[in-house]
Symmetry: C2
Subunit: 525 residues, 2 copies
């Protein structure tokens, strides 16, 4: 499939006039054709105008129409075939098997949202029928449903070029909610973005939807992203990326005459607590599992385990020895972009140069230009507690092991943590009391609490929470993975005494859509 | 019951050292004893510290314990008896029947939330059981529930001294969610606040809950409110009041190292659309209903109908004549505070002095110092569309009638509106097409859409939305009235592979709490 190097505004191919973007193969440093011309405010304006025009029609599509559209997007992505995988490999340095898996996840996610749309729980239908005889005052007829917020801006992430990018979780959940989407493609994988964008564009046409349901813009620097978030037609923002990037978008969104919600998934070091019995009994296996999770995908996951907390002693020393050995043997891996590699080098350098941190092990050095040489470091809990900078995320395969004097200090470390996406307990039956003591703190710090697993690997399902208190995300009340992600793009509307002819189908007498409804506060159907 | 003029921090009575607050009887201008000593940062610190300490225990109370607590608060408020009504009358100028009704609403609201707590829908329990045999990868066990955000700051509103104040909707829904509450009492009714605060305090003790579950602070000026919102232990804010006040709190909340959600219900002019058939057929009855809604409670409701839109012509002229006559005959009513009266006078003065606005009628002048003399004004739609200032809320019985050239201009007026709490259609069968054309716009502008009723009178039920796009509220995804208000104070947590012993009761195998659960995305029970 030939790449054209242009943006997609509705059904149109549009060439920009701003600074160009050229993808780089991070494995070789080679620049990849074609050159993408970046857009400007003009293209933002046009995409938002079309999105706004599409919103009225799109938001009132039937559940079946919308579900079929999401399924069509999935089918169109699959029909690109191997071209998509090869381009993504070249742009990201990620291996084939990982990208094939990610494509499966992306299409599975679109199909999950199709089923969520059909089930209609997201409409949160509530009926409080009129009570004309009620004393002292009658009650009028009141019905509620949720409606989509309006056009949504989505920022593609670099580390999941398919699952968190053009047709990733943010786009899928916003489209499922009934919101048109304007994507700002990530500059690290414009070719992959173009291919997926064209698949969505084709699906829009095949499903006879208004063209503004989807647009894809490119732009280097922050101009186009800031313009997108500031556009009065945009009503919500989905973002996965750095803390600096997320907070900048948040500031723009809050400074608008009409502030809008920003769902930014930003920064997490995903603490893992090694409880004493587990550490003593199976420290070696835990250390091996830990390093496998740490180094997977060069550690370029939001849920990478970057902090390990244990009680100082023989068992922890043994853990460190095994983990250090595994890290030392770990092969270098190509990182996603030169920028990420540079930031990783800086972060690891800061740890290595920190007076209170000791280097436990470094992985194998690489031969390519942008390879991640894994790092394992250690520090005393008292030093960790004294320096907030040691909580800064190092994006990539780098972890810090915190040595506590005892369980009390471990609890203190837990309490000192910023908000996280995940918190993990490595525990055995003998650790139940210790786990019970930590759990209330971990619930307050993280969106997901795990026992005896690793935080990498985020299941796309109904119970998933990929979210958490600030700075893990900008809105702890939400998740960006799983079916509940749809709620980010909805708001409730109440209809009082509306004639049947005017009521939305989901709210009409006789329940024509066969929805589960809350009637007088009791669930029906 | 003797008033003591002090704050309540947990179970302690605390006297402040900052500027004092003295309630004024707005009917007479008389200053009411006792003088309340305002608190400072010291008291904010202490209340937040206690709230934080109480949070761990309170958030894990059983559904039954928490429901009984809410019911006990209601019973304690009722047991104050007539002292509460008399003090509230003196502090607000509101009539007895209104305050008795409001007390009923307040206690009914607490009991509704008790039933909501027991039903447990708010926990949003989701289970995705492990699929060890799944290919290509097994699925781990994932379960989700919602947990309370943490201590909540609530700002009492002046216009509902019971239902939106110390133990009003924000407090009731936050306590129902499991959040301790620190109230900043409104300076207009400190005596009413003290009485209700003591009732909550007594209920906390009677239910053997940690004292920090509830505190009540006073303070003149903004210092104490800003300190409360800035306190790191506060995790969410409920506010009903002015746009200036709400946006100031929002700015403080967003500037924190960890930003928090603010639920501010601020400003709405509640447009009423007079559709042609209804206007022609029953314009007189509509005019009478309108003026009754407009002047009820001196117009001091968030949902007061401050904007009426019709098509210029005989029928609208007849409406204006009847409405003008009714306004002119309307008796003056005491307003809540000297400050509200002053702002009302300014707002009405701005309309009266506006070059493009004509005065249709003014109500009877009052004899007391702070009485509301209702105002009805009219302007051409073209002038309204040209001047955003005509959308500013005038809190009190004042309305502006917009004369449109035709239905197209009426649509344009609808599209020009800022976010609203409500939008109303006065319509007959012959207006169905016109209503259908307006409805999509109204849904985007308002949290509640009504037909043939009046927006004043907000039912406390499950389907209610008392919310809407900015500036009606700071978060259109929520409601501050009705059972769904509880969702403002919750966030999801996912538990992965946790042993049964560590899982919260609501998530355990066998469903010990008998909750409605979403299992693999399908509703069970």
């Amino acid at each position: 499939m030939t790449l054209s190097g242009v943006m997609q505004i509705g059904q149109e191919a549009v060439s920009g006039n701003s600074a160009t973007i050229t993808a780089v193969n991070p494995a070789t440093g080679e620049r990849l054709e074609p050159v993408y011309s970046g857009g400007s405010k003009t293209e933002v304006e046009r995409a938002c105008e079309l999105a706004d025009a599409a919103y009225g029609t799109y938001r009132e599509t039937s559940l079946e129409e919308r579900a079929v559209f999401l399924e069509t997007v999935a089918a169109e992505i699959e029909s690109i075939g191997d071209d998509l995988i090869e381009r993504a490999m070249a742009e990201t340095g990620l291996p084939r098997v990982r990208l094939e898996g990610e494509r499966g996840r992306t299409c599975g996610q679109l199909r999950l949202f199709a089923s969520v749309v059909r089930a209609g729980e997201w409409l949160d239908v509530r009926l409080d029928p009129a009570l004309p005889e009620r004393q002292p005052l009658p009650r009028v007829d009141l019905r509620q449903r949720h409606i989509p917020l309006g056009p949504v801006a989505v920022f593609g992430a670099s580390n999941f070029p398919l699952a968190f990018s053009v047709a990733g979780g943010d786009t899928a959940s916003a489209l499922a909610a009934g919101c048109p989407v304007v994507v700002k493609g990530h500059s690290a994988h414009p070719g992959t973005s173009e291919l997926v964008g064209r698949a969505v564009q084709t699906a829009v046409k095949a499903c006879d939807l208004p063209e503004g349901v989807f647009s894809l813009l490119f732009g280097s620097g922050r101009e186009i992203g800031q313009a997108l978030v500031a556009d009065p037609r945009i009503q919500a923002v989905g973002f996965t990326g750095s803390r600096a990037g997320g907070t900048a978008l948040l500031a723009t969104a809050q400074a608008r005459p009409q502030p809008i919600p920003v769902y930014a998934e930003m920064s997490s070091i995903n603490p893992v607590f090694l409880l004493p019995e587990a550490l003593k009994t199976r420290g070696k296996a835990i250390a091996e599992g830990f390093v496998a999770s740490l180094t997977m995908g060069a550690g370029q996951f939001c849920t990478n385990p970057g902090l390990v907390i244990g009680v100082k002693g023989e068992a922890l020393d043994a853990f460190l020895a095994v983990a250090g050995d595994a890290v030392q043997k770990s092969a270098a891996q190509t990182m996603l972009t030169p920028g990420i590699h540079g930031a990783y080098q800086d972060g690891v350098g800061r740890l290595a140069g920190h007076a209170k941190v000791r280097e436990v092990a470094r992985g194998q050095a690489g031969e390519g230009p942008y390879e991640c040489q894994a790092g394992l470091f250690a520090a005393a809990a008292s030093d960790f507690l004294a320096d907030d900078a040691l909580q800064a995320e190092v994006f990539g395969a780098s972890a810090l092991v915190i040595e506590c004097a005892d369980g009390v200090e471990m609890q203190r470390v837990a309490e000192s943590l910023e908000g996280q996406l995940t918190a993990t307990l490595q525990m055995d039956d003998g650790d139940l009391d210790a786990a019970r003591a930590l759990l209330p703190t971990l619930e307050l710090k993280a969106g997901r609490v795990l026992a005896n697993g690793w935080p990498t690997g985020v299941e796309v399902c109904h119970a998933m929470v990929h979210g958490g208190p600030f700075p893990a995300t900008s809105d702890s009340r939400t998740t960006s993975v799983g079916s509940a992600a749809i709620h980010r793009f909805l708001r409730p509307v109440c209809y009082q005494s509306l004639p049947q002819e005017l009521l939305p189908e989901a709210l009409k007498d006789g329940n024509p859509w066969g929805m589960s409804r809350l009637v007088n506060g009791k669930r029906k159907g």
